[in-house]
Amino acid sequence: MIRLFLIAARNLKRSWFRTTFTVAGSAVALVAFIMLRTVLWAWSAAAEYAAQDRIGTRHKVTFIMPLPLRYADDVRAVPGVKQATYMNWFGAKIPTQPDEFFASMAVESKTFFDVYDEMVVSPEDKARWLADKKGAIVGHVLAKKMGWKVGDKVVLEGTIYPGDWEFIIDGVYKASRRSIDDSEFLFHWDYLNDTLTGEEKDTIGWVTSRVTDSSRSADISKEIDRVFDERDTQTVTMSERAMNVSFMAGFSALLTALDVVSIVILGIMLLVLGNTIAMGVRERTKEYAVLRAIGFEPWHVRFFVVAEAATLGIVSGVVGVGVAYPFVNNVLGRAIEENMGAMFPYFRVEPSIAVLAIGIAIALAALASLIPSIQAGRVSVTDALRRVG
């Protein structure tokens, strides 16, 4: 049996050109498939890994509209809220590299790292930052990319709050969880607020709270919104996970499209493999007849065809994963995490996706060989061996 499998596998050496192209074609399809699955996975991972005991409160109409500063204390007063912090989206650019995108936020420094405790920052860095009005804490990925070190002076250009803003890098944070973007730029809310006048002063983007009991986060969210029901500005509160899910729901058409595309890719791969296998079977008809004449039975011949196809699948799968894995993890993933960290804080090929891809390659090859193998098993020995003369 094993012997028969190995012999069948050797048939692939017969037409190197065809085998190489088939493997290359299937591998490319597989790489595309793996990248699509990784996009889908990374996207849902953000929701999956989101903290369940963290809830966000924002303006009922849209999160672009601010809330009054005092809302933060009102939220803290709601039973079940352990700690709350607030922040404003700052939207900064590096004047010399305006295309570099990263999240920049003015945060309430006293409480921020209590609410976001998976953003790990050393006590020395934190202490330095708290004592420094112009201080900033940045994600380690962003710091590395920009070459920022503790003590560096950085000037950013505000997009929402115009002007040049001067900061001192006081420390870096590193996420202990995959759902957190490692490229954020965080500085004191007071530093921003002190420069503001009029309507903008003493307003906050949103409030984020930790609750004592994550199973009650929905109830507590409702409780918070009720507090502001009668005020001028109403709020919407939901858990971070619910927020991610609802955010993703907005992209559901896109996600479905990606799903469909990945199935189409597999369909193309099936055709590529099927064509090669069918061609091989047609060429080897006489050999199958000889095997039958020797005493091999139709199921041996079918096995022979499926074994050859399965080998093609294994090779394609290994090559595909062998290309996709290092490419995504070392090149593409790194680039995406650096440049689109807000959307894909963690973009790597999951081992389960790699295993799935190899499995799919083998299964598709076996599937593609189904009809050819049945045909090969049915070959009439006498017809195939007949020669004119």
């Binding site: 012997r3 028969l4 012999i7 050797r10 048939n11 050496k13 017969r14 006489k286 050999e287 000889v290 095997l291 039958r292 004449a293 020797i294 005493g295 091999f296 039975e297 139709p298 020995v381 006498t382 061996l385 007949r386 020669r387 003369g389």
Partner: protein
Amino acid sequence: MSTEPTNERESKSNRASPSAAADDEPAQYRKSASPEKGKAIIEMAGVTKTFFRGKEPLTVLDGLSLSIEEGAFEALMGPSGSGKSTLLNLIAGLDRPTSGKATIAGNDIGAMSDGELAKFRARHIGFIFQSYNLMPVLTARENVELPLLLTKLSSAERRKRAETALRVTGLDDRMDHYPRQLSGGQEQRVAIARAIVHDPTILVCDEPTGDLDRKSADDILELLTKLNVDFKKTILMVTHDPAAAERATITRHLNKGKLE
């Protein structure tokens, strides 16, 4: 398979073999000193084979009767399209007669299922084709081993038997060559080794020298004679070559579906 007449092939000959294999007498080629003279191993009575081309019937063998003794070396001649290959296929258990009875090595070909026929071929028949039909991806030795994959032999035993068969056919030094590295005559020797490796009862050859030059053809005929004389194989050979037919003890002529 119970119908198998192996008992008379047990005894050993002490006749010197001209082959290199004579020194280490291969266990799988037990030579019988005296095959029972007159015992028919191939017995056909009123065999008819009709093919259909669409609705048009074509009777290729027409009430043919034939008896071949064990240990015989017979040649079958006849014009193209006279049904030689068809007859050979029936004897080899590749096809069943439309009517009549074909008893080969005690098996009624017409009465066997496809699976039984496959086992019958694996046990009793060695097939030699005009166009060798070797597997190009396998070495000579691996090609010869193929029929043994259907047995329960260990891989070491398979290898040993394949090497012995190749030695018998004079290819000691070509075992690891691929078919494309061999001449036509050598390829046919590999094919013959493949046909004898499982020690079949009958060798069925369909124009075995048809693709070969005179010299190679003579070598192959010499080898077949050796297999017949020294190893007591019953051989039935279709040929167009009168020189080949001369090697045989009996030559039959097939014409328009009947033996002359």
